[in-house]
Assembly symmetry: C2
Homo-oligomer: 115 residues x 2
Amino acid sequence: MHAFDVLGDPVRRRLLELLNDGECSSGELTGTVRAEFGISQPAVSQHLRVLRENGFATVRREGTRRLYAVDPSPMRDVDAWLRRFAARWEPHLTALETELARGRRARRQSADGDR
Amino acid sequence: MHAFDVLGDPVRRRLLELLNDGECSSGELTGTVRAEFGISQPAVSQHLRVLRENGFATVRREGTRRLYAVDPSPMRDVDAWLRRFAARWEPHLTALETELARGRRARRQSADGDR
DNA sequence: CCACCATATAAACAGGTACTTATATAAGTC
DNA sequence: GACTTATATAAGTACCTGTTTATATGGTGG
């Protein structure tokens, strides 16, 4: 399943929004989403599975609860694809900003090299 | 149909990529995509319809051809949603860059006011 | 006007996906 | 260990979406 398909579902988008506020248990997520969309617990659980299996969320057990958290990697990929088009709606960077971005990139690279 | 659903289809993503290089006729798009995905002309035409009807593409007639172009508005919306999560994968802006962005925003606003 | 190109629409069908209800797993409590 | 709570999985079903073939539209040139 492609990242865009994962994001195509409104329930999954909502789950990600909720998780964006911080780690959350399956039960809390289910409660909120059930109220908003009127779907069953298994339905929510299956959406959580989709998020897990496609790398959008990680899960850890804490007692009997399962705590979900956002994993941003697939969204970064989606963002990367979108950026090909970004010039069409964003004003161009000024020369100074471009230079600052270049410098930051360079610093990041040398930090990587130090590892 | 939600913008993310529109972007969920690989043929439509490819069409947008092609259109991102500039205005293009239905026939040219169909030729390329047919070769890459092995689908029929009507299939491509229906994808173009989806792009049209959801505001991702505009079309104008030129003789017997129809020339398509990207309309970035829905992708801007998608980008806006994604940005809620961007802090998770992007390094923070430096203070100077933040200030530059603020200033640019302010200039844009006053330019809007001048219209 | 007719034939021809480029493109769009119609109708039918196949597969996938998102539900439902029912049930399983697994951790805490008595 | 039995009972409860939290969560996941299974099986079945309905709908939606993307395809195909066939056909319509509409502009161009003889």
